[in-house]
Assembly symmetry: C2
Homo-oligomer: 788 residues x 2
C-alpha cells in the first residue's frame, strides 16, 4: 500500500470508530443512523466522556496499522480515565467483542444496538476500561497507573510492544510521573518495549492541563531529560496530522526495533533512548466545534456529554444529527445476506488477524498463559528440629533463600521477579543476589554491586512505579513479589484497591481465568523501626486492606522463619489474590518445625500444644512475629508467677476481612470456641492497630471476652522492646492483662492480682529508667529465653 | 566581605557542623574531641545516616549566608529522609536549640554532650527531622513530600523563601515528581518563593539513584522542561565547589527577586522560571574515603554508620579518629569564662540574628501566627424552615457558598485556600468563583473561565501535590480545604498518616501551639459514582483513617446541607486536626433546621424525634447522607407495613477511631444505651464498609444487637439506588433487616415476618428488572417522598 492509501484507510477507520463511540453515548434507537435523528432515538440518561474518545480512536487505528504491517504483538493500554465508548468501538470493529460475546454482541446491527443501549447503563457496560472489555489489563478510571502497568506487561515478553495512551490529565499525577523512570530498569535484550503516546488534548474536566499549555520546546526538553526520544505530532502544524502520526508511529517502531536489534546482537546498550510520541490533537476533535457561542472542540467543555439536551431540544438534536452525519457511516460498511456487517475494504486492511487484535492478544490473558512457579524444596531451606522453641533465626533471610532458589529453578521460564522500592538488602533478601542481579540500564560503575542490565530484581525508590509494574506482570500471567518497608506500603494503598477491583470484576467474566497473585511483603516492621523513628512506624496498610475484599486479600503473619517459608510458597501458589506477608527482618525466636508450620498454615489459627496447658483458665494469643515473641515471654513470666494457673497459647497467622484464620476457617466463627474456649478470658497480642482485630472478631459471639492489644500510635526513636512498652504490648503488660482476666474469673484473688500488677508495673518503670540511662535494652531483655 | 572571606567563613562553618554531626552519630564521651578517641568514647549502639549529612550542612551554611546578606526570611526543609544529626548541628550552632531548650541543651559542652548522647537513643532525639527540632514543619523519614510542603508554606507569605533540600533518592518518588508542577499555580506577585536544591549525591541505601547516573545535559533538559532555570553545581568540576555554590545561591536569589520585582511592579509574569540548583557532591563527603578496600565516600556504602566497629576495633577507631581530626574543631571555637561556646568570628558572620534563624523563623510556627477564619453567617446560608423533612437540597453547593463567603470575609488576611485535585466544579463548589479564581501562571486563553494568576483555588490533578501544599499551608498557620473524589482520597493515605504523626509528635513539644486543621472533603461519593463505575466507588480512606489517631482524625458525615454548613464551620475552627467531611454533591432530601443541625453536631449522635416513636421496638440508624436517605425511606415503608410497630431513628454524623459521635461522646460508650436502647435490635445503615463501624462499636457491650449494613464492594456502572440494591443498603433491605429483628424479639409473628420479607424481595426483583429494561431508576424511586 502507498502511504496515501494507508492514510485513506486510517481516516475511514477512525470515522467508523468515532461514529460508533458517539452513537454509544447518545443513541438507543437508529444506531446505524439510517435516517435523521428523532428525540425518541436519544437515551433517557446521557452519560459518558466524549472529549477523549477521538484521540483513543485515532491511536487505536494507528496501532492496528503497525500490527497489520509488521505482524507484531501489541497491547493497547488506555490511560485516560474514561472514553470507554472509543475502546468498545474498536473492540467491536476488530471483532473481539463478537468473538467473546457471540450471542450478546454479534457482528451486526444487533451488536451495535447492544453496546449502545448498555453503555454506562445499569447492568450494562461500564464507562471506563474494565476486565469485561477484551484485552484490557487495568481497571480504568483512577488515573496514573497505565504506564507502569504497561512496563510490567512487557517484562520477559521480548516480542511484545505495549502501546500506552497516556492522558495529559493523568500526566499530572505523581504515580504517572515516576513511571517514566522505568527506563532505568527494563533491558531491551530480554524484555519487550512500551510505545507511550502522550495525548495532549489540553484539558481535564473543567480546566487546562499542565502539558496543554506547554510549548514544543518545553515538552521536548522534559522528555529528553527523562531519557526518551520525543516525536512531536500536532494537529496545528501544517502537515496533515494523519500523515504526521503515521510517520511518527513508523519512526517509533523503527527506533524500538533498532534498540532491540543492537541489544540482542550482544552489544551493550547503555541509556536506551526509547521513543515517546507527544500527540497534540483537540479535545472533542470532530465533535461539535462550538455551540451557543461556547467553544466545545479544543476546550474542556467537550469533556463529557455535549449538546446534552438533544432528547428534548431541537437545536441540540440538530447539532448531534450534523455531527453523526459528518462521519458518513453508511459509506463505510455493507451487510451480507445474514445481516452481518462488512466494513469497507480499506478499513479491513487495518483489522489485524484475530490473534493479533489487541482485544485478543493472548499475553493479556494472564490466566491463560501462566506457568506455575517451580517451588524450592522447603525441607532443604527450613530450619531443622534444633532451631525451634525459642532458638533464634531469621525470617526474611529465609524468604530471600526461597526467592534465590525460585530464581534458579525458574530461570528458563523467566516468570518471577522482585519489585523492590525499598532495596533488597535493607529488607534482608540479599540471598537472591547469589542467583540474579538488580537491573540497571544507565551507567554501571566498577564499584557497583549486584547490578547488571538483565537482573530480575527491579529497584527504584517509587512504590507506585514498582507496584504498577507488578500489577502488569502478574495480570499477564507471571509471578511477583513486592517487598517494602511496612510503614511506606500505604503509598500504594489506592493502587492495591484498584488491583483488587480489577481482580474482583474479572471474576465475573467468562473468558478470564484466575491470574497469579500480587505478593506484598511488609518487612522492616514497626517494632524494628525503633531506630528510624516515628515516620517508620505504621501498620496502616495491613489494617486498611483487611477492611475489604475478603476473598482477594489475605494477610499472612508467620510467627517464625519456617512459617514464613510455608506462607511464601502458599503466596506464590495463589491466584486472584493480593497476599500480604508480614515478617520481621532481624533475629527472632523460632517456634515451629516445618511440619508444624505446614499444619499451622492449614487454618491460619492453631493452639500451640507445646506451650499450652489442658483446661486453661485463660487464653493468650499472638499474631505477628514480634507480638508472638512477647506473648511467649509473658507465658514464661505468668507461669513463674502463677504456677498453678493454666494457660493456652494460640497462634494466629492468617487474617482476612471476614475474620481470623483462612477464608474457610473465618467463615465458621463458631469454630473459635474450640480455639479460644467458650468462656475464658482472651488476651490477644497483635502486631498492628487493635481496631484491625476488633473488626475481624466482631461477628464472633465470644468477642467480648477479648482484650486486644496492639500498636497505639506511640512511637519514636527507641528500642524494639520499648516499642512494646510504649504501646502496651510488652510481656509485662500481657501479664497484667492476663492477671486481670484471671481475677475477674475468680481464678486468683485480689491480693495476688494486686501483687502481680504491682510487680509488672515496677518492671516497666525499671526498664524505662534503664534505657533512658543506657540507650539500649537491658541484657535480660536482649537475651530472653523461652522455657516451659 | 570579599567573596574570599565569605568562602573561608562557609568552609569553617561546615567544618563545625560536619564535626558536630559526626560526633552525634558516634560519641558518648569526649564530644569536643579534646583528646584522641578511645573505645570507651563510642556509643554502645551506633545509629544514624552519615551519607547525607555533609550535603545538609553545606546547604545550611549557604542558606545562612543569604539570610545574613539580605536580612530575608528563610525556611529550610530537609527532603532526605535521615541526616538529622546535620540539622541538629546547625540548630545548635545558630543557637536555636539553646533558645528553646536552655536547660537541656545549653550553648556549651553540656549541650553538645546532650545532643550526642540522646541522638537516636530511646527517649532521646529522633533520627530524622521532626517537630521536636525547631523550625521543622514536616515529619521526616517518608520521602517525597518536602517540595510540596515548601510550596504550601510560601503561599501568601510574600517575603518568605523556603529552601528545600530535595534528595535524589526522594526524587525517585511519584509525589516528589509531581511537586515540581506547582510552578503552574503559585504566583510571584503575592506569594513567597521556594529555592529548591536537588542534592545529587548519587546513592540510596544500597544502590545508585536515577539522577546520580544522569549527565549534566540530561539533568538540565529535565528541569528546563519542567519550567525551571537549572543552575549546575558539581564538585567534580575544576572550580572550588564552595565558590560554585555561593555563586549559584547568589544567582538563584537574584532570579527570585527579579521575578518578584517584575510581578509586583504590576507587570504580568507568564511562566515564571524559578531557579533550581542541581548540586552534585559526594555521598559521605569529608568522611572516610575508603576502608578495607571499599569505596565509602561517593558510594552507597557511606549511607549509614561507616567504620561501625569503632567501639571495639582499632582500625575502625583510628579511621574515625582521623576523620574527626580532619575538621580541626578545636580551631573553630573558644569558651568564655562561663564555659559558653564562642564560635570563631568568621563562623559568627554566618549566624543570622535570632529571629531570622531557620530554627526560629516565626512563620514556621503555625500555632503562633494563626489568625482564625472569620466565619460566614450560617443563618444567611442555611436552608430555612421550608427546606426540611425531606424537601430537596444540595450539601456541596452550600459548602461552596460558605467557602465563597469565607473568601470574601478573609480577603485581607489571605489565610484560606482550596487545594483541589479533582476540580472545583466537579465537586459542586463553584460558588467560590463568585469570590475568587483558579490560580494559573502559564498562558491563559480567552475562553478559559475562572482563571487568573492570583486565584485562591489551586487545581492540579495530583492529590499528592495538593495535600502536601495544604500541609505546608496549615502548619504555617493558615486554613485549607482539600475537596476530592472520595474514591481517590486513598492516594494521599500515607501523606495523611505522616501529617497526623507530625501533629501528634508536635503535641508533646512545649514551644509548639496547635495548628489549624487540614480539612479533607470527600465528595463525589460512591453512591453517586454509579455512572462512573467501579473504580470510582471506594470508601477506603474513611475506613483507614478511622483505625487510628482518634484525637486528631474526626470524620463528619452530615446528613444534609444544614448539617454540612455546621460541620464546615466546625472543621475550620479545629486545631491539630485532620477532619474528613463526607458529603454528596447531588440533590438529596434535607432534614434538619439550622438549630437542629447545631444540636446534632454537639454529640455527633442524635435521636431524630420527628421521625421516632416513644418506647421503640426497633432502632434504625443512618450514617452518611445517602445512607440516611435510604433509612428514612425504609421508615416510611415499615410504618406502612407495620403501623403498630414503634421505631426510633438515630442519626450518626461524627466518627473517630474510638467510636461513634464526638471524641467526648465516644469516651462514654455506656451513653449508647440511651441512644440505641439497652436491649432492642439495631439496624445501622452506613455509607462505607461495615467493618469500619464494627471496629468502632466493638467496645460497646450492646454491639451484638447491631446489624451493620454498608458498602460490600459490589459496584459497577449503574444507578444510585441500585448501588444500595447491590450492597444491601436499600430501603427494602433495611425493612427486611428490621422485620427480622422484630421477629427475633417476638414483636411480629412468623407469618408477618415472612409476608414482609417476601414483599420486599419482590420489590428488589421488580426494581432490577425495571432498570435492566430502562437503564434508569423507576419514577417512584426518583420521586420518593418522606412522610410521617
Amino acid at each position: 500500500m502507498t502511504q496515501q492509501q494507508e492514510i485513506a484507510a486510517l481516516k475511514k477507520y477512525v470515522r467508523a470508530t468515532n461514529f460508533l463511540a458517539t452513537s454509544q453515548i447518545y443513541l438507543k434507537n437508529n444506531v446505524l443512523f439510517k435516517r435523521p435523528l428523532q428525540h425518541g432515538d436519544i437515551k433517557p440518561r446521557l452519560l459518558g466522556h466524549w472529549g477523549t474518545c477521538p484521540g483513543i480512536n485515532f491511536v487505536y487505528a494507528n496501532v492496528n496499522r503497525l500490527i497489520t504491517k509488521h505482524n507484531r504483538k501489541f497491547l493497547y493500554l488506555v490511560g485516560p480515565g474514561h472514553g470507554f465508548p472509543a475502546v468498545q468501538a474498536n473492540l467491536f470493529v476488530e471483532g473481539s467483542l463478537s468473538h467473546y460475546y457471540p450471542e450478546i454482541i454479534p457482528y451486526n446491527e444487533d451488536g451495535i444496538s447492544d453496546i449502545c443501549r448498555k453503555f454506562s447503563a445499569a447492568y450494562g457496560y461500564p464507562s471506563h476500561a474494565n476486565p469485561e472489555a477484551p484485552g484490557q489489563i487495568l481497571e480504568g478510571g483512577e488515573l496514573g497507573y497505565s504506564l507502569s502497568v504497561a512496563w510490567g506487561a512487557v517484562l520477559d515478553n521480548p516480542d511484545l510492544i505495549a502501546t500506552v495512551l497516556v492522558g495529559d490529565g493523568e500526566s499530572e499525577t505523581g504515580p504517572l510521573a515516576a513511571s517514566w523512570y522505568a527506563n532505568r530498569l527494563v533491558s531491551p535484550e530480554n524484555n519487550g518495549a512500551i510505545l507511550p503516546i502522550v495525548h495532549i488534548n489540553g484539558y481535564k474536566i473543567s480546566g487546562p492541563t499542565r502539558m496543554g499549555r506547554m510549548d514544543r520546546e518545553e515538552l521536548e526538553a522534559e522528555f529528553t531529560g527523562l531519557g526518551y526520544a520525543p516525536i512531536y505530532v500536532d494537529s496545528a502544524l501544517e502537515e496533515d496530522v494523519y500523515v504526521q502520526m503515521a510517520n511518527a508511529m513508523d519512526k517509533a517502531y523503527a527506533m524500538i526495533t533498532e534498540i532491540q536489534r543492537v541489544a540482542r546482537s550482544g552489544d551493550d546498550v547503555c541509556k536506551p533512548r526509547w521513543p515517546v510520541i507527544l500527540m497534540k490533537t483537540a479535545k472533542g476533535w470532530t465533535g461539535v466545534p462550538e455551540f451557543d457561542g461556547k467553544k466545545l472542540e479544543g476546550n474542556c467543555d467537550s469533556h463529557q456529554v455535549i449538546v446534552n439536551k438533544c432528547a428534548t431540544d431541537e437545536g441540540h438534536l440538530t447539532a448531534l444529527n450534523d455531527w453523526l452525519d459528518s462521519y458518513k457511516f453508511h459509506e463505510l460498511y455493507s451487510m451480507n445476506d445474514k445481516g452481518e456487517l462488512i466494513f469497507d475494504e480499506e478499513i479491513q486492511t487495518l483489522i489485524p488477524p484475530a490473534e493479533l487484535c489487541c482485544g485478543q492478544q493472548r499475553l493479556s490473558y494472564g490466566g491463560e498463559v501462566v506457568q506455575a512457579v517451580k517451588n524450592p524444596d522447603l525441607t532443604e531451606l527450613a530450619y531443622g528440629p534444633d532451631v525451634v522453641r525459642g532458638t533464634r533465626g531469621y525470617s526474611m533471610n529465609k524468604m530471600g533463600e526461597w526467592m534465590r532458589d525460585a530464581f534458579k529453578l525458574n530461570a528458563a521460564e523467566r516468570n518471577i521477579r522482585i519489585f523492590s522500592p525499598d532495596e533488597t538488602y535493607s529488607n534482608q533478601l540479599q540471598a537472591v543476589f547469589e542467583a540474579t542481579d538488580r537491573a540497571w540500564q544507565w551507567p554501571i560503575e566498577s564499584w557497583d554491586e549486584d547490578m547488571s542490565r538483565d537482573g530480575r530484581v527491579l529497584e527504584l525508590l517509587s512504590e507506585n512505579l514498582l507496584f504498577g509494574m507488578m500489577h502488569g506482570y502478574t495480570v499477564t500471567g507471571r509471578h511477583g513479589m513486592f517487598p517494602t518497608y511496612e510503614s511506606f506500603s500505604q503509598v500504594i494503598a489506592s493502587m492495591a484497591d484498584q488491583y483488587c477491583k480489577y481482580v474482583h470484576a474479572s471474576q465475573g467474566i467468562h473468558f478470564r481465568k484466575p491470574v497469579p497473585a500480587c505478593n506484598v511483603v511488609l518487612s522492616s516492621l514497626l517494632e524494628r523501626q525503633d531506630h528510624n523513628g516515628y515516620s517508620h512506624q505504621n501498620p496502616s496498610f495491613l489494617g486498611a486492606m483487611l477492611e475489604k475484599h475478603a476473598e482477594i486479600v489475605s494477610a499472612y503473619l508467620p510467627a517464625d522463619a519456617n512459617s514464613t517459608l510455608v506462607y511464601t510458597e502458599k503466596a506464590f501458589a495463589g491466584r486472584d489474590k493480593l497476599n500480604i506477608l508480614v515478617a520481621g527482618k532481624k533475629e527472632l525466636p523460632q517456634w515451629l518445625s516445618l511440619e508444624e508450620a505446614r499444619k499451622q498454615a492449614e487454618d491460619g489459627v492453631m493452639i500451640w500444644d507445646f506451650a499450652s496447658d489442658e483446661n486453661p483458665d485463660v487464653v493468650l494469643a499472638g499474631c505477628g512475629d514480634y507480638a508472638t515473641q512477647e506473648a511467649m515471654a509473658a507465658l514464661v513470666l505468668v507461669r513463674e508467677q502463677l504456677p498453678r494457673v493454666k494457660v493456652r497459647f494460640v497462634s494466629v497467622t492468617e487474617l482476612n476481612a471476614n475474620g481470623l484464620g483462612s477464608l474457610e476457617f473465618a467463615a465458621k466463627p463458631w469454630l473459635l470456641d474450640d480455639i479460644f474456649t467458650p468462656d475464658k478470658g482472651v488476651v490477644f497480642n497483635y502486631h498492628g492497630y487493635p481496631n484491625t482485630i476488633k473488626k475481624l472478631v466482631f461477628d464472633y459471639k465470644g468477642a467480648s471476652r477479648f482484650r486486644i492489644k496492639g500498636y497505639e500510635e506511640e512511637g519514636s526513636t527507641t528500642t524494639p522492646f520499648d516499642m512494646g512498652v510504649r504501646n502496651g504490648t510488652s510481656r509485662y503488660h500481657l501479664v497484667i492483662d492476663m492477671a486481670y482476666k484471671l481475677f475477674q474469673q475468680g481464678v486468683i484473688d485480689e491480693t495476688t492480682h494486686s501483687r502481680i500488677t504491682t510487680e509488672m508495673l515496677q518492671n516497666l518503670v525499671d526498664h524505662k529508667n534503664y534505657i533512658k540511662a543506657n540507650g539500649v535494652d537491658p541484657e535480660y531483655i536482649e537475651n530472653w529465653e523461652w522455657k516451659r
